[in-house]
């Protein structure tokens, strides 16, 4: 394996796939309250797309596109957003879901009980938390992968 990543086949397939994987990850995050999935799963899918990029092009190849410091800051922002959403309900109790079924325009709709086709604009803070966790997981795992890849490379060359 050279410093620039893997063979042409892998790189071409990666170029085709990684955008799709990222979009699919965002879809899973977005519909976490309706279909199987959620912030963690979607975040992991997006992070796997990043990992694919890293493996195919090497750490040097993605240097401009994936910046470790920005990713780390975004992860902290995600964590703070999640904690903030949990704090938002503290008037009633920590983690109180103050938007669910409140009728507000933001995820405030109520849902009929029993099997149905699902309402996107419902769930209160749950979809928001999905986004916060999704952001956190995708950037966090990407950070770990980048750092460990670069660290292990150093090992190999020394």
């Amino acid at each position: 394996m050279n410093q620039n990543g893997m063979s042409v086949i892998v790189r071409t397939v990666t170029r085709l796939i990684y955008g799709l994987a990222i979009v699919f990850g965002f879809y899973v995050i977005m519909h976490g309250h309706l279909t199987p999935g959620g912030g963690f799963q979607g975040g992991a899918i997006v992070a796997s797309a990043f990992a694919l990029l890293l493996v195919a092009f090497g750490a040097a190849g993605v240097k401009g596109r994936l910046n470790k410091k920005i990713l780390q800051s975004l992860e902290e922002v995600g964590a703070l957003a999640f904690l903030g959403l949990a704090f938002a309900g503290i008037g009633t109790a920590f983690f109180y879901n103050l938007l669910a079924g409140s009728g507000s325009f933001l995820f405030g709709a109520s849902v009929a009980t029993g099997p149905n086709s699902g309402i996107f604009n419902a769930g209160g803070v749950v979809p928001l938390m999905n986004w916060a966790v999704g952001l956190k997981v995708m950037t966090g795992i990407a950070c770990i992968v980048i750092v460990m890849l670069v660290g292990a490379r150093k090992e190999e060359t020394e």
Partner: protein, 536 residues
Amino acid sequence: MNTLAIHAPVLLVAVPLLGAFATPLVGKLGQRARNVFVGLIVAVTAALAGLLAADFFAGTGAPSVYVMGGQGWSIPLPSGMAVPIRILFEVDGMSAFMTLITALVTLAGAYFSFSYWRERSGGNMYFSLLLLLTAGIFGMELTGDMFNFFVFLEITSIAACGLIGFRVWLKRSQEAGFKVMTLYTLSGLFVLLAVALLYGQHGALNMGYIASQIGTLGVTLIDKIALGLLLTGLAMKAGAVPLHMWAPDAYGEAPAPTSAVLVANSQASLYGLFRVLFTLFGIGTSLSTNGWILIVFAVLTIFVGVTLALVQSDIKRLIAYGAVSQIGYMLLGVGVGLVRRASLVAGGASLGAQADALDYGFVAMQGGIFHMLNDAACIGLLFLAAGAVTRASGTRNLEKMGGLAHRMKWTSVFFIIGAFALAGVPPFNGFASKLLIYEASFKLSPFLSVIAILSSIMLLAVFVKAFQGAFMGTMRGLDSVEEAPFGMLLPMAVLALVVIAFGLFPGFFVDHIVTPAAKALWYGRDAYIGAILGGG
């Protein structure tokens, strides 16, 4: 109760978490801004712990419940349900007592770190991990939910191992990090397996509900297996012999202020062990067996800890083995209490009346629990003093030190105070709690008492020898040594004051803090369940 006191349990976890998440961002503004921020967060956390404890110990002593989400913080059960469905925090005497210990040690450790870590790299991440460790310990002590306990256990494991391996330039710290992480993970998985078994058996995760189910349905085989796994996992995390292999490495290789906080981490696992034994499995036929298991752990821990401390030449490993042996004293006190409580339960006596008449089992519990506080203070003091010494002299090897007292007067005074307190010499706090343990364990079996006293004397000899070698005598080639800066001396002074205050007025603290904690374990089981399920 005012609003802040109501929300204090959850804020105790949420505020350090907020600090930990924000520290790397604040750190971009510079070291001074970060130190102010972290100092503020730690001070607020300690104030909240003080508020929680003051509120609890001034009140009626009934456990209070805080429910996450739902219709409100005070409603553990949804209407028409007999099972608590949400995660809740439950504060009883023991939890409030443990939060005080954690707050004290964290306060000293964090403020000591400001000076200790000034010229080192990665300070933002260091303080972030320290705050995460604190949040995890508080969570373990306050939670009333089995799975939530496991999650906080894992937070402390990972944060602790991050801190142990933080000085990547040290060969041994990396080896210790791998070893400790493996064993912590294994202990966490044992706890998780036990939680899964209990969930499969009772369909719930709330400690109070599971306790009441075990009370009404009796202890089944699955419950016993879960108890065995919990005992193994938590004893491993607390560092009881024969599962102690990680403890000296962890305490020895972590940065000195972190070692002090790691002691609080071990004690949180010990708290979990006591919670499981007294609340979850507080009834049934095997109570006495559990007590004797604790006593066997205790005797082994005391003996092995002190024996291995004899041969150490590394100042931090020496203190680390001292810390291991002190875990044994806590286990001994509570184990004696558990055996005595079992015989009282079997005899059908009322536990409350026994506590008021100060039965020897209850005294042993008081001693064991009081010793947790004393141990945190004096081991913390010793680790901080050792950190100041190694930072000044550049070595941890006792044989290379000598005559340090000429240059480091205050540090050597603090070290000797900590050493005397640890070995149980009269005017200091270790004596106060060890005396209670000696007295009470003598009534169960003189043998236990003799082992405990002899080990204390040996520990004193070890520490006097170490002090003699490192601080007395002539200076040996360490000319550049200077006294530790004020930022390090102040936290040590605070801990030394605590050590002396607890030694001079043990009666006051035993009456006001330790007795409610001991009562919460001794006969608080029904109240603990009643606070969640109502009735009692």
